[in-house]
């Protein structure tokens, strides 16, 4: 079992105009393809509402992956707009562990997302403790 604190984002409360922190379940990951591994970590949001892992296309180029050779799919968020992503099998490292998974890379993706297929399914349970601002990955 691994436990992680939620990570802070700066948030300007529009009602009070005060600066606050929005704490969110982010995980620091590195991506790998063949013998290349990203030099720096990427902060990715753990999102149980996302069907798959979605990452910005630029992160594929860093590891020498021609992401458009992957499986082309259409994805949509909560609005009506769909966009194209390409699924590729890559390595993902977090906290010293390496797993093989599928990440869908797309243009104009701003927040890398770890979803149910390709992340949550590697664990027996993923527990969110919102009150105490942490989450557990239970294998």
């Amino acid at each position: 079992m691994a436990k992680f604190d939620f990570e802070p984002d700066l948030h300007l409360n529009p009602e009070t105009n005060n600066w606050e922190y929005a704490y969110r379940p982010y995980l620091f990951v590195k991506l790998g393809y063949r013998h290349r591994l990203s030099e720096n970590s990427i902060r990715a949001l753990i999102d149980s509402g996302s069907d798959h892992n979605i990452f910005p296309a630029e992160l594929a180029s860093e590891i020498g992956l021609d992401y458009k050779k992957g499986v082309k799919r259409k994805t949509t968020a909560v609005n009506e707009y769909a966009f194209i992503v390409y699924g590729n099998r890559v390595k993902m490292e977090y906290e010293g562990k390496v797993v093989e998974t599928v990440i869908y890379f797309g243009e104009n993706v701003k927040i890398p997302v770890l979803g149910r297929n390709g992340f949550f399914n590697y664990f027996k349970k993923v527990n969110f403790d919102v009150k105490n601002k942490n989450f557990e990955l239970i294998e």
């Binding site: 700066l10 509402g49 180029s61």
Partner: protein
């Protein structure tokens, strides 16, 4: 953990920072350009992250 207030200048940008958010090492609105700078300066073991809009919440 808190974020250095210097991050206020980087809304909607990609930044390279350390794990404790103590400073912004590099920043750019374009992730591709940021990656080129990172490679040029040979920065390792830092964190790449997007600074979401300060007055918005995130949905999937």
């Amino acid at each position: 953990m808190t974020i250095n207030k210097a991050f206020k200048q980087h809304e909607n940008e990609w930044v390279l920072t350390d794990r404790k958010y103590s400073k912004v090492i590099l920043s750019n609105k374009d992730l591709g350009k940021l990656q080129k700078e990172v490679k040029k300066k040979k920065v390792k073991d830092a964190v790449v992250m997007f600074i979401p809009p300060f007055d918005a919440f995130i949905t999937s």
